[in-house]
């Protein structure tokens, strides 16, 4: 265990209040009773089922966050029709690809958001993820040539940018804007470390 620093009060409070809110919403009422029992239950649950503290990004741009979700919904609708067409169109069998995309963020949370959003959109699904290198491996439907692959890659990076601008950390925002340099690559080639 290597404890470098402590989670901010805000991050901890957010998780805790989230649980209380969830409890109150489940009961469908915000009364003294529901909040008090919610606090009690949340306290017991977090104490009994201990999980490591986590640190959120401390940044939230409401407008861009809303934009991300609206765009996601739009993408899903559009992609649904595209996939339906690919399936139903006569003749050709689509060429599919595994596309590796180097993300700019190093945040697990943002990576997860990117991966989940992409998986929600029909036609693309995350098959693997290199955590150390922040590389997403995507299965993409109907990629006839390099242009389609490039389009898929830019879609990934666009999703990443929208998410980071919505609620990524300041450092990540600088990374997607290109105003900060990504960290040095690991001198040991990936893959060797895992082999024992």
């Amino acid at each position: 265990m290597h404890q470098r620093e402590h989670a901010s009060l805000g991050s901890r409070a957010m998780l805790f209040l989230g649980l209380v809110l969830l409890w109150a919403m489940l009961w469908g009422q915000f009364t003294v009773l529901s909040v008090l029992t919610g606090v009690a239950i949340s306290t017991v649950v977090t104490l009994v089922f201990y999980l490591p503290a986590i640190q959120f990004s401390r940044r939230l741009d409401p407008a861009r966050t809303v934009y991300f979700f609206v765009r996601l919904a739009f993408d899903i609708v559009v992609a649904s029709f595209q996939v339906a067409w690919i399936v139903l169109r006569p003749g050709t069998v689509p060429h599919n690809s595994i596309v590796a995309v180097q993300l700019r963020t190093r945040s697990d949370l943002i990576t997860m958001w990117v991966a989940e959003s992409l998986s929600l959109v029909p036609g693309s699904i995350v098959v693997d993820l290199d955590r150390g290198e922040s590389i997403l491996y995507l299965h993409v439907l109907d990629t006839d040539d390099g242009r389609d692959v490039e389009r898929a890659r830019s879609r990934v990076l666009g999703t990443e940018e929208r998410i980071v601008r919505g609620f990524g950390s300041a450092h990540d925002v600088a990374l997607v804007r290109g105003t900060a340099r990504p960290p040095e690559a690991d001198p040991t080639p990936p893959g060797t470390e895992g082999e024992r």
């Binding site: 265990m1 290597h2 404890q3 470098r4 620093e5 402590h6 989670a7 901890r12 998780l15 989230g18 649980l19 969830l22 409890w23 489940l26 009961w27 009364t31 003294v32 009773l33 008090l36 239950i41 949340s42 649950v45 977090t46 089922f49 201990y50 999980l51 490591p52 503290a53 986590i54 640190q55 190093r106 945040s107 697990d108 949370l109 990576t111 997860m112 991966a115 989940e116 995350v126 993820l129 955590r131 150390g132 290198e133 950390s169 300041a170 450092h171 990540d172 900060a180 960290p183 040095e184 690991d186 001198p187 040991t188 470390e193 895992g194 024992r196």
Partner: protein, 1022 residues
């Protein structure tokens, strides 16, 4: 009398605690109980000395059957109660010296032995034949546990089982007899059964059955073989159970019933015939033994046969003699067993060929043993002599009156007595004499206190002998139940035939002893004609073989065959019933709404595809589709409760399947191609058709008005809940639920015991260092394996790393099984302690999302899963708690809540492996299951204390200021029990099917030589 049995029981249960506190000295404290009972019994002396005197106590027990817990202290009960408690006290005192403090399971032994004394006391004093039978069976069970005290020895366990089987067999036969008797006579009181015995054929048969029980308990031929084998028990047990107490139960029973039933036609032939045979067989065998304990064991068999003849003979004088012999035998045989125990203890052997010169080395013990042996041989002036002479007199008198059986008994017992004298002399000589051919053995010293018990017993023999005139009226009180007589027990009756017979017996016996070499040669030439013990083993083996045959016939090991059997039986039985039914549905609707058709079509397609699937995983997922189709049907039909539960069950099932399937080959039937596909398909279709028709018929078969219309009202008014399904589960039909969770617990235990072949450890293997992390809750731990940023700050944390690694080695002996744990420290890149979160993120270091993520190999790790589980685990638990509490009024309940919590744990396991699971639930799954059952049973039993029926729910409602209206029912506690059982089951499945298989896989990976079928398959997959 009842108070004594309560005292015995209480102290028996307290005995383990006392032994833990006081060690072996606790036996001295425990001995107080039989002493108190002894004194208490002596208090009845005045009552029983008066003619036909008896003290009774009685509590009505089961009025419908007219059963009462009735005790009756008459002369016979008084005599046996004194023997049982007196010898019991001495044996307990002896135990204090016999055992060491380090003897394993001494507390259990003490409790059982004291409990046995109490049971014997209850047996001889109870007056209700059913209560007596209960005590009778308890002695069998306790004797099983006591003989099997050395649980590690196969011989000891076998002997215990043999004794149990033989005595319970007899016990069951006796139960039949006893029930017949009490039904015919219309009473279960022993005193009434004996006073007014029913006449006729049936009672005669019944009494024979009772005699069989007595014979098995008292080791009479042909049941005698269990007693010598039972010598595997510790010596105090042999002395008490197999000399003074348990084996006397049969004799007691005969003595108890003889006054009423000795005239029964089969009685005398059985009693005299088998008794004499036993006496001769036992004595003959005894002469051949070299193990001193076995000499006594066969001697006991012989003496029990002797007692059987006398107490069962059925005349007043024989009964008096029998009572005297009963007393004499208990005293001398217990003393002799204790003597052998001391010899064994001090010299380390019981084989007399290895012993020499013990008489000089242990004079006190030798004197005590000599007194007891003399009593056994019937030497004047000991009680044994008095008894034996009374026996001979009784038989001679009766024979002269023209009873042929009396002559048989006289000759038999006289010959038996000659042999008795011979083996008595051989025993004494073998144990204590100095033989020039044998080296004197070294003697292990101990406190002299151990000699006290056999000395007291030896001296008692002479005291009773000389003071027999005082004992006589008390024993005569029993004998007089046969009618009054003139004969009295005395040392000197004058020059009578019996005296000459006694003298002749002793002389012949000593002659036999003197010619022991010739006797031994003769014995070795006579073949063992019938070996009852071999008969027992033949029977046991035959039963085993039959069981194996039947199992082999019914269970050939092929799953398809089992399924075929079940399904075909179902089709034939239920389908056959359908053919004769007359309630065919009159009105058939194809569907309620069109969506049903779509869902049904999906389910049908999925099930057909599942049957045709070639991959296991595909088949399971397709079967899952049918389950989720059912979820949709439930939901659309307005049963959100069922839909929720069904969905959770379906998920849990799929997870369980996948956990199992990952160790099986991917393709179905790789090695054995399925045979007779058409036949199987036909059977399957027939089953489906039958089920459909059954459903249709069942729905239209209703004749009475449905009680379902009442359920909404009942659940709201009686169960205080709006969710009818949940109120049904936890209140209206809570018994069903209780049985179901009991089954769940059994299943969980079964799965675990199948997979934890090498023994199931209590708490799961924990992650080293996790406690330290837990202590600092606010810390954001870095994930050491995923971080690739390197920050070679001045201080190197290498020391911490190696400490971590060595801690890992210390925590687990098999560190090799999870090398990644150790390597994690060694290869770990480090980040400066002073880094801010941004810097740390910039440097590429990642935070740890779960506790044990780093124990998983990189290639098997899923970041998405880890992050999602970290974020969703707590909410899932909160929702599951909500489901538990809200279930009474809205969809949910303990079962659904428990399943959700279980699935949350499944997610933890899938994301972080078995160490993650161990961190999430760091306790034994059995404790979860156990506390769940405890809560459910507790809430069920709790209502009994308030005068209500079991499982009656109670509700508390109150308006609390600020908080508002509160309502809580005991059924919620019951539901909490269900919740815990379901969670415990999930944890158990995960731990056995998941974690344990992981561990076995790791072991197999590490040790290619030890790889099994499964691991080769999995290795190929990788």
């Amino acid at each position: 009398m009842a108070i004594m049995t309560v005292l015995f029981a209480a102290l028996s249960f307290a005995a383990p605690v006392l032994v833990r506190l006081l060690g072996r000295r606790a036996f001295l404290l425990l001995a107080v109980v039989p002493v108190v009972a002894f004194v208490h019994t002596l208090g009845y002396t005045g009552v029983i000395a008066s003619s036909d005197g008896a003290a009774t106590e009685s509590w009505l027990w089961i009025p419908q059957l007219d059963l009462a817990i009735a005790f009756r202290m008459d002369a016979l009960a008084w005599l046996l109660a004194l023997v049982v408690t007196g010898v019991g006290a001495l044996v307990l005192v002896y135990c204090a010296s016999y055992f060491g403090d380090d003897e394993p399971a001494l507390g259990r032994f003490a409790g059982l032995l004291l409990g046995f004394a109490g049971t014997m006391y209850g047996l001889v004093t109870s007056d209700d034949v059913m209560v007596m039978f209960m005590y009778w069976e308890i002695t069998s069970v306790l004797s099983y546990l006591l003989i099997g005290h050395y649980t590690g020895r196969k011989e000891s366990r076998g002997a215990a089982l043999q004794a149990l089987l033989v005595t319970t067999l007899g016990g069951l036969v006796m139960l039949v007899g006893v029930v017949m008797l009490s039904v015919i006579a219309g009473t279960t009181r022993i005193s009434e059964l004996v006073a007014e015995p029913p006449q006729g054929v049936l009672p005669s048969i019944a009494i024979v059955l009772v005699l069989v029980g007595a014979m098995s308990k008292s080791a009479i031929v042909p049941f005698h073989f269990w007693l010598p084998a039972a010598m595997a028990a510790p010596t105090p047990v042999s002395a008490y159970l197999h000399a003074a107490a348990m084996v006397k139960a049969g004799i007691y029973l005969v003595a108890r019933f003889a006054p009423g039933y000795a005239e029964s036609p089969a009685w005398t032939p059985i009693v005299v015939g088998f008794g004499v045979l036993t006496m001769l067989v036992g004595a003959w065998r005894s002469l051949r033994q070299y193990d001193l304990k076995l000499v006594l064991a066969y001697g006991t068999v012989s003496q029990l046969g002797f007692l059987f003849v006398i107490v069962g003979f059925g005349t007043r004088d024989a009964a008096l003699a029998g009572a005297a012999m009963l007393l004499a035998h208990a005293v001398y045989k217990a003393g002799l067993f204790l003597t052998v125990g001391i010899i064994d203890h001090r010299t380390g052997t019981r084989d007399w060929r290895k012993l020499s010169g013990l008489g000089r080395a242990m004079p006190v013990l030798a004197v005590a043993a000599a007194l007891s042996t003399a009593s056994m041989a019937g030497i004047i002036p000991l009680i044994g002599f008095v008894g034996k002479e009374a026996v001979f007199t009784a038989f001679i008198e009766e024979g002269l009156r023209g009873d042929a059986w009396a002559w048989v008994a006289l000759v038999g017992t006289a010959v038996g007595s000659v042999l008795t004298v011979a083996y008595s002399a051989r025993f004494l000589w073998g144990a204590f004499a100095r033989r020039t051919t044998t080296e004197p053995v070294s003697i292990h010293g101990d406190s002299g206190a151990i000699v006290a018990a056999p000395l007291v017993l030896g001296v008692a023999g002479i005291v009773f002998g000389i003071g027999v005139a005082l004992v006589d009226p008390l024993l005569a009180a029993y004998a007089d139940t046969f009618g009054h007589g003139e004969y009295h027990l005395a040392l000197w009756h004058g020059l009578e035939p019996a005296l000459f017979l006694s003298i002749a017996v002793i002389a012949l016996g000593l002659l036999l002893f003197a010619a022991r070499r010739s006797v031994a040669r003769l014995q070795s030439t006579v073949p063992a004609v019938v070996d009852a013990s071999r008969g027992y083993w033949t029977t046991v083996n035959a039963v085993d073989r039959l069981a194996a045959r039947v199992t082999l016939f019914a269970q050939r090991g092929g799953l398809p065959q089992y399924l075929t059997t079940i399904v075909v039986v179902f089709v034939l039985a239920v389908g056959g019933m359908l053919l004769v039914t007359r309630t065919w549905p009159t009105d058939i609707r194809p569907f309620d709404y069109p969506l049903q058709v779509v869902i049904a079509a999906c389910m049908i397609v999925a099930s057909v595809m599942a049957a045709r699937a070639r991959q296991r995983m595909t088949a399971v997922l397709l079967a899952g589709v049918t389950g989720f189709g059912l979820v949709a049907l439930f939901a659309l039909h307005g049963a959100p409760d069922l839909a929720l539960t069904q969905a959770l069950v379906e998920l849990a099932t799929i997870v369980t399947f996948i956990l199992v399937l990952r160790r099986l080959p991917h393709a179905i039937a790789q090695h054995n191609r399925p045979v007779r596909k058409v036949r199987r398909a036909v059977i399957g279709v027939l089953f489906g058709v039958t089920m459909s028709v059954v459903a249709a018929v069942a729905l239209s078969a209703r004749e009475a008005e449905s009680i379902a219309t009442e359920l909404p009202r009942l659940s709201l008014e009686e169960g205080h809940g709006r969710n009818i399904v949940n109120v049904m589960l936890v209140d209206i039909r809570a018994w069903d639920t209780m049985n179901e969770i009991a089954v769940l617990v059994v299943v969980a235990t079964g799965i675990a015991s199948l997979l934890f072949v090498s023994g199931r450890s209590g708490t799961p293997q924990r992650l080293p260092g996790a406690r330290r992390q837990r202590a600092n809750r606010r810390a954001v731990p870095a994930d050491v394996r995923a971080s690739n940023g390197i920050s070679p700050a001045g201080e190197s944390p290498a020391t911490i790393d190696s400490a971590d690694a060595s801690a890992a080695e210390d925590d687990h002996d098999d560190t090799g099984a999870h090398p990644q744990l150790v390597d994690a420290g060694a290869h770990e890149p480090t980040v400066a302690h002073t880094a801010t979160p941004e810097e740390r993120l910039a440097s590429g270091a990642r935070q740890s999302w779960l506790l044990a993520g780093r124990t998983i190999r990189d290639e098997n790790r899923s970041l998405l899963l880890e992050v999602l589980v970290r974020l969703l685990f707590h909410p899932a638990i909160v929702v599951s708690i909500f489901l538990l509490f809200t279930g009474h009024n809205t969809p949910g309940g303990g079962f659904a809540g428990g399943l959700l919590a279980g699935l949350a744990l499944v997610a933890r396991y899938l994301a972080g492996g078995r160490y993650e699971l161990a961190e999430a639930v760091p306790i034994d799954a059995g404790k979860l299951l156990g506390s769940g059952i405890l809560l459910a049973v507790g809430s069920a039993v709790g209502s009994l204390f308030f005068g209500a029926d079991a499982l009656t729910s109670a509700y508390l409602e109150a308006d609390v200021p600020v908080l508002g209206h509160l309502s809580i029912g005991t059924s919620t506690i019951f539901d909490l029990g269900v919740y815990l059982v379901v969670v415990g089951l999930t944890v158990d499945i995960l731990r056995s099917l998941g974690g344990e298989i992981d561990r076995q896989q790791e072991d197999a990976d590490l040790d290619p030589g030890a790889s099994d079928d499964f691991s080769t398959t999995t290795a190929a997959e990788r």
